[in-house]
Symmetry: D2
Amino acid sequence: MGKTIRVTVWNENRHEKIDKNVAKIYPKGIHGAIADFLSQEPDFEVRTATLDEPEHGLTKEVLDSTDVLIWWGHMAHNEVRDDVVDRVYDRVLNGMGLIVLHSGHFSKIFKKLMGTTCNLKWREAGEKERIWVVEPGHPIAEGLGEYFEIPQTEMYGERFDIPAPDTLVFISWFAGGEVFRSGCCYNRGRGKVFYFRPGHETFPIFYQPEVQRVIKNAVRWAAPVNGPVPTFGNVKPLENI
Amino acid sequence: MGKTIRVTVWNENRHEKIDKNVAKIYPKGIHGAIADFLSQEPDFEVRTATLDEPEHGLTKEVLDSTDVLIWWGHMAHNEVRDDVVDRVYDRVLNGMGLIVLHSGHFSKIFKKLMGTTCNLKWREAGEKERIWVVEPGHPIAEGLGEYFEIPQTEMYGERFDIPAPDTLVFISWFAGGEVFRSGCCYNRGRGKVFYFRPGHETFPIFYQPEVQRVIKNAVRWAAPVNGPVPTFGNVKPLENI
Amino acid sequence: MGKTIRVTVWNENRHEKIDKNVAKIYPKGIHGAIADFLSQEPDFEVRTATLDEPEHGLTKEVLDSTDVLIWWGHMAHNEVRDDVVDRVYDRVLNGMGLIVLHSGHFSKIFKKLMGTTCNLKWREAGEKERIWVVEPGHPIAEGLGEYFEIPQTEMYGERFDIPAPDTLVFISWFAGGEVFRSGCCYNRGRGKVFYFRPGHETFPIFYQPEVQRVIKNAVRWAAPVNGPVPTFGNVKPLENI
Amino acid sequence: MGKTIRVTVWNENRHEKIDKNVAKIYPKGIHGAIADFLSQEPDFEVRTATLDEPEHGLTKEVLDSTDVLIWWGHMAHNEVRDDVVDRVYDRVLNGMGLIVLHSGHFSKIFKKLMGTTCNLKWREAGEKERIWVVEPGHPIAEGLGEYFEIPQTEMYGERFDIPAPDTLVFISWFAGGEVFRSGCCYNRGRGKVFYFRPGHETFPIFYQPEVQRVIKNAVRWAAPVNGPVPTFGNVKPLENI
């Protein structure tokens, strides 16, 4: 087993408070459900943070001791303070992994890191999704079959307005006629970002073994590497060429 | 209008000879159908070549005077002579554009340039295909809508065993549950390669305006650039650093 | 010749006003020098805009009638109004090409589109730079040799904190021991972005034929494509699958 | 610690036999030197294979029990049997990692996997090389500084005729005026390929700690992932859409 990976699961945690159906599916909140399955991994150290905590639970201390941050948000993206977004952004560029789930595509932090609108098509029809692995040797595909299905989900469709991923791992098929780049890897600064499409609040998607498998794999992939810390600014030339 | 682009349309031309249905759809051969619509472009100079011609119609003279080669093959990939494949390969690396259509994914030349098996899933059920544009600013998407449909086609599904494209322009959705990377751009040597999925012999796909539009765009994108001709081997160091 | 490309050359135009040496090298401003050589192309329609004009010369009308925007800035990045940056950003994502030169790496617009700090190493020692073409088939390399040299320049060195380019066209060598990704292509939204390293204010770099060649090529590469305009939001499923 | 990674170090082992200087630097052969430092890792199980062994030491049994193959060759590329190359190729596409060192750029296996000539410039002048990390968050950069130097080496210069790497980790600077893409990652099939430039036979480069660090990191990065094994060919449609 490798060294411990410190994971913080961040959730907006609003749907759970105001919608009985969501609360029924996720009684501990989406963050609680994610923390539960991640905690089964002996090398993960897991805690949670939510929007309504002071500083959204993402103080400097918390971020400095986080190796991988998982992000779920939907209805309250605009309530996330810009200074906290900047703090997360700096940590990602300095090596912290970031996993953005589902409706997090429209979070301030994801848009800031992508440099694009991150807009997409959507439909809430509870239709079937088939997620195909297109890069079977990628560590995020470990333990999966050639595809897995989500029986009922909200559809997300192309055009997904993102930069082309550094590595595209999954493409989704939807019963209603759309496709979607569902698993997208990015290097940004010294950090890694993974966007994973599944995860609606009104379907029990985070209880699905394949979805859990992907998120666990992504945590390991996104964990910081002890690589060089670049220096910037004025430098002297090489002596003794 | 830009300068003239010299296009050679290569076709195996076997299905047309032995299958009445194919001959009915493509009375002039698939190469004839493609040459017909390309010839409508005033800046294209179009000719054809087929397997059963001497040297498959791809003599040194023909290739040296070809800017973009279009390739359709299916049942007779193995009959293509290795020395002709090597000749095409050298020309691509030296700047000639190559557009590989549909079942050409299994041609010797495409496999040699990709370095992988180029294998895939398939199904002949005449099902519907929806081709989504995922890179709307790419020149190969010029003049298209967000997607276009092929009413009845053979399905090709992932995993498509290719290197990740330098640019992925199209993703296909199929009614039966598959997705496919349908428009793949590659730089190889000084040349450009475009793989385009549509184009079965038993459906009139090459008469469809969107398909014609894509192939015309691809010819322009793949046309040679008058860039540097790299030199290789032993070199002297820079003087006067 | 293709259709007319409308180019707007934007310059901060401050060094030219306060530094006699810069004013001597670029008596019409850096924007004037760039506009001069671009205007030699019969298919380019060229105008300029500068920081001290109302709205920095980048009104909605100007941007709406600009196909490719060229950006040079250095000492006054922070004086560029955020609403103007947002306006440029929206236009790029909607198809306008953007060419960012040299110290523009630290402009608000480039950092916003990249999603990273865009920081780097630098040294003002008037040393030699050799710019190597690593993608000789790319349209931006048209008309160049295998490399070209800038006799005296400011050095920019890696680590350059950018996302890996969609296509890397040039790598620079510097006499003092550094390398740099000097020609970087990005697709962002429906638009294209090209970063080109050369271009210091105290050296006559924009008069160099190879530098002019690259910028002309980049204008043609970055010009908008009449591709699909994606729609976003709620959509209906496909009927008649 | 992770699970055991079975490494096979393949070496042509000819220079060592015919050149006293090489034999003096690498008394156990280049393969022996590489095996020695890899064996220090408790989770690596290391063996060697050389050209003059039956089947070049790369029998089906050996390859089937190899997770990562390291390849060094130079003067005898053409003596490597095509059937053995095909066997290695199949294993890479089915998941075995491959690390190609220095002059291995011209090996049959590397050229077959790349689909290009893999040609380059070179100079034997014992000049200084500076290898810059351009992707500091990549696992192959673990434990390195911003750059490291090789005091005396053969130069390799661009244009390096390879497909653009999926991830570019290192760029080399050479005293004589060249640059080179020195650390190139590729996904091919289910396998991973890493090309690493350093490693000439007449300099003691494989004893250098940074070079050893990179090769160890690359072994871990290239080790197989237990991902899906794609199936190919005729498939049935999804039922119960």
